[in-house]
């Protein structure tokens, strides 16, 4: 139920919750949303819901102690006290997250509570925004609790800021928002179920074959397939989350803005998982000094941000390497290659289209030895591969070309925008209806199937 692309969520939780939420009067909506979100989270992760509640209460209290009406003159003692509370709050949040990530890595992966990386980041931004006065009105408990736990965002983000949620106003639901929310939800569902989940099978095939035995063309195809899988999985999720939040009366939070149309890797990461990127920018990079304190410190700050980004995604070494490589590419783009990239924008696009899939391979293959093998197949200069079947590329292209083609088309901003712009057009409505039921068909007959091992 905790997965948006599941029959339980779409036909049980979502309609029942939405109808109750829409019916109750405006002032009561936030209570319903909080209760529904905790229920949703508890179904997905059991007792960890208590941890979420505990962290909520803790952060609410600390936030209130830190809070000060903006513009007021401040006594030095109070300033020190605020700083202390901020340190305690952020320190505790970071400690909790690092502890759970560590336990998950060393003891059991089940020890990382669902969505913790996301809600802890919300909590940290909440404290920082109160401290800096970005949150102007003192946040009440229910608003704070809804912000941390709201079910559209609690499992995988987007990492909305408190200020973006219009928490001080009474929620008003407009038909337009409900319709638009549904449009985004259906588009996201289709991306996840009809594209990402399908293409994901190709990546599994490569693992099955063993990287040492894939041909070089197939290794490249695999890199792109994984890139598409990740993109449509996460963009699809983000659209569904965004759509749901709209149906609840929140503004749309954009997490993806056509990253593959980016002119360079740093541009890519302004468009990819934007709420995470801007979080690191606002709460790590800029507090460290950003780019204002000379080249050396800028490089240091960039590397720090990207190593942290790597660590945030997972504790194993490949994620750290992934973050470090991205940091280095971004530094490369910012300094030595800057002039060149500005003059020839094609180079920036090539950067995106070629380098990004390669970095996703680092992201995907957690075992370093395997990673080395994969790269030796991508660039077969020093090794031969074992039992490579030269015809493999044709086999997999033959099977997956429709999904890959659809993916490429969706990477073009105009294609997606055409659908969104014309979302009231009967043809688009028909298309989305088809996508919705086709997705449900796939969900029912694949995931819902007791015999999951059919595809051998």
């Amino acid at each position: 139920m905790v997965v948006f692309s599941s029959v339980e969520f779409i036909f049980r939780f979502m309609p029942v919750f939405m109808i109750i939420y829409w019916i109750v009067p405006g002032a009561a909506k936030k209570y319903i949303l909080f209760a529904g979100s905790i229920l949703f989270y508890a179904v997905g992760s059991g007792w960890f819901a208590l941890l979420l509640l505990g962290a909520t209460v803790f952060n609410f209290l600390l936030g209130n102690w830190i809070y000060m009406k903006p513009g007021r003159r401040i006594r030095p003692a109070r300033a020190a006290q605020r700083k202390k509370y901020l340190r305690i709050a952020v320190g505790t949040d970071v400690f909790l997250l690092v502890l759970c990530k560590f336990l998950a890595l060393k003891v059991n992966a089940a020890l990382l509570p669902l969505g913790m990386s996301f809600y802890i980041f919300k909590m940290i931004s909440f404290q920082a925004d109160i401290y800096t006065g970005k949150i102007e009105v003192r946040p009440g408990f229910i608003n704070t609790a809804v912000y941390f736990s709201m079910f559209p965002q609690v499992t995988q983000g987007p990492i909305m800021r408190y200020g973006e949620g219009n928490f001080e106003q009474e929620r008003r639901i407009t038909l337009r928002a409900v319709e638009d929310g549904m449009v985004f939800f259906v588009i996201g569902l289709g991306m996840k179920v009809l594209l990402a989940d399908r293409i994901g099978i190709l990546w599994n095939e490569l693992t099955k074959i063993g990287y040492e035995s894939i041909s070089t063309p197939l290794a490249w195809l695999g890199a792109y397939a994984y890139s598409f899988q990740l993109y449509f999985d996460f963009w699809g999720y983000s659209l569904m989350a965004g759509g749901l939040a709209m149906m609840l009366g929140f503004p749309l939070i954009r997490n993806f803005t056509h990253p593959y149309a980016a002119a360079g890797v740093s541009d890519f990461y302004r468009r990819w998982h934007a709420t995470l990127g801007s979080w690191f920018r606002d709460y790590v990079y800029i507090p460290l000094g950003g780019s204002r304190e000379g080249v050396f410190k800028t490089i240091r700050n960039l590397l720090a941000v990207w190593l942290l980004t790597g660590f945030w995604h997972g504790g194993s070494l490949n994620f750290i390497i992934w973050g470090a490589v991205l940091g280095l590419i971004i530094i490369w783009e910012k300094y030595p290659a800057r002039m060149l990239l500005e003059r020839v924008s094609l180079l920036g696009h090539l950067h995106t289209i070629i380098l990004i899939p390669l970095t996703w391979v680092i992201f995907a293959v957690t075992n370093l030895q395997e990673l080395e093998i994969y790269f030796s197949r991508l660039f077969p200069f020093f090794s031969q591969g074992v039992a490579v079947w030269k015809g493999d590329i044709f086999k997999y292209l033959g099977i997956y070309w429709p999904y890959l083609l659809a993916s490429v088309i969706l990477c073009v901003p105009a294609a997606y925008n055409l659908v969104v712009m014309n979302r009231r057009h009967p043809a688009v409505i028909a298309l989305l209806t088809g996508i919705f039921w086709w997705s449900i068909y796939m969900l029912v007959n694949n995931a819902g199937n007791t015999f999951m091992y059919f595809t051998f």
């Binding site: 049980r12 319709e179 039992a387 079947w389 209806t433 919705f436 015999f451 059919f454 051998f456």
Partner: protein
């Protein structure tokens, strides 16, 4: 009224989805005791309307034989087999797969053929429609065995018919007519073939002797491979197994009976496989692609192939020197005589029926192969085990079940022209688990390890 319309106009997608959702729920409710009688009803994770989706997948529609608008109505043959097996796990027959989606196409084809050619109508469409109706009504009954002849026939026709024929039918009558005639001729020939094979299979079955009350003595050493055992972690789902004292070998006469002579397994070289055909699932596809055998051996395999749909579903046929093509086993086995037939299935059907049911279908498949390939040496290949991680975690894809099933099918070997070989010695550790390093997913060999299977085949061949 106007208000409602205005309201709907503001939320068109929400309205359409709500209406279609209610409509599907209505359909499911109305047909829950007829078309969907065999489906699990409402539960938290299974709203009524999902039944309609499952039905489309299995080829079960609320109305009989009509087409449906869902572009995704693709049916995997194994899934169909499961639909059948779920209904009749005990009495499931070979070819349990229900070819209903193809039936639908058939009917559409038949209907369009009607409009294309009035005169052909009676000869062509009516028998097909009749078959459709029969099948459709069959699906509604519980524990119904599917009619093999009909399945085979439809599938044959499906394979031969060119969809373009129907599209251009109205304009190019004569062309369409010719094609239809040709398709009909081919379908008739296929019908006749299947009928003949069936008759012979029945004759073989009729001639079988009564079941024994104790197991036969084992075959002499080296006549067949020993069934490789595996450590039992105690987590196998006994639903898919049979009692340990089940008797499998039932024949003292007929094709499975032992003769005076037995042959032993020994070493050979690659030329041995030149007149061999390997039939199997994705693992056999892997052997074809990575076993260094493609240039001298024929393969007939398909991902998700199982004993349930061995003859009813299409597979990829690879012959040395020609492209992969999709066809069925009737075509391949009737096209030429092979010296050796290697059969390797068993992992996709682990969650279907029990060991006895599997054995029974396996036996029938062997009879069918024998009828079409009277001279071939038949190799029953024991299913490859899975890795320790998989068998410990998965109570269905589990070595305990695999070993029991391998033991069951091994009894079908007669040491004369049917042999049991087991490649697990080449790829398993001392606990009988597939070595983790040899597999990316714990179930399939990595490409670089298929050579071990190839080697094992080279070491275990009969020369007569």
């Amino acid at each position: 009224m106007q208000k409602i319309l205005d309201f709907i106009r503001q939320i068109p997608l929400v309205a359409v989805l709500t209406v279609t959702g209610l409509l599907l729920t209505g359909i499911a409710l109305v047909c829950k005791d007829t078309a969907y009688a065999d489906y699990e009803t409402e539960s938290f994770s299974r709203p009524f309307l999902t039944i309609v989706m499952e039905g489309i997948h299995d080829g079960v529609y609320p109305w009989s034989g009509g087409g449906n608008g869902d572009p995704a109505a693709e049916a995997g043959s194994t899934a169909e087999a499961v639909a059948a097996a779920e209904k009749a796990p005990e009495s499931a027959e070979e070819n349990g797969g229900q070819e209903a989606p193809e039936e639908t196409e058939e009917k559409e084809n038949a209907e369009e053929t009607k409009s294309a050619d009035e005169e052909k109508k009676d000869e062509e469409a009516v028998p097909e429609e009749k078959a459709d109706e029969e099948d459709a009504s069959e699906e509604k009954k519980e524990e119904e065995k599917t009619s093999e002849e009909e399945d085979g026939k439809e599938e044959a026709e499906e394979g031969k018919k060119d969809p373009e024929t129907e599209e251009k039918g109205k304009r190019e009558k004569t062309d369409a007519e010719k094609r239809i005639e040709e398709a009909a001729r081919q379908a008739e020939a296929k019908d006749a073939l299947i009928e003949e094979v069936e008759a012979q299979v029945t004759a073989v079955e009729d001639s079988e002797t009564a079941p024994l009350d104790k197991p036969l003595d084992p075959l002499p050493e080296n006549v067949c491979n020993k069934v490789v055992g595996a450590k039992d972690y105690g987590n196998a789902d006994s639903y898919f197994m049979s009692p340990d004292d089940t008797l499998y070998n039932t024949d003292t006469e007929g094709m499975f009976a032992r003769g005076e002579v037995t042959y032993t397994l020994g070493e050979t070289d690659d030329s041995y496989f030149e007149d061999a055909l390997f039939i199997g699932d994705s693992r056999t596809s892997g052997l074809a692609e990575y076993g260094n055998m493609m240039d001298h051996t024929s393969f007939m395999s398909r991902e998700s192939a199982s004993i349930y749909a061995l003859f009813s579903s299409k597979m990829d046929f690879r012959e040395p020197g020609s492209d992969v093509r999709e066809t069925d086993l009737y075509d391949v086995l009737s096209a030429r005589q092979y010296g050796k037939i290697y059969l390797s299935v068993g992992v996709n059907e682990l969650g279907i029926g029990n060991t006895y049911g599997y054995y029974d279908l396996y036996r029938r498949a062997l009879i069918k192969i024998r009828v079409m390939q009277p001279e071939a040496i038949i190799y029953i290949q024991g299913s490859m085990h899975v890795s320790e991680a998989v068998t410990k975690k998965d109570k269905v894809t589990n070595n305990t079940i695999i070993v029991q099933r391998n033991k069951a099918i091994a009894t079908l070997a007669n040491g004369y022209n049917i042999f049991y070989i087991d490649m697990n010695t080449a790829v398993c550790d001392k606990n009988g688990n597939l070595i983790a390093d040899y597999s990316g997913d714990g179930v399939h060999l990595k490409a670089s390890k298929y050579e071990l299977w190839h080697e094992s085949l080279l070491q275990n061949a009969v020369s007569r």
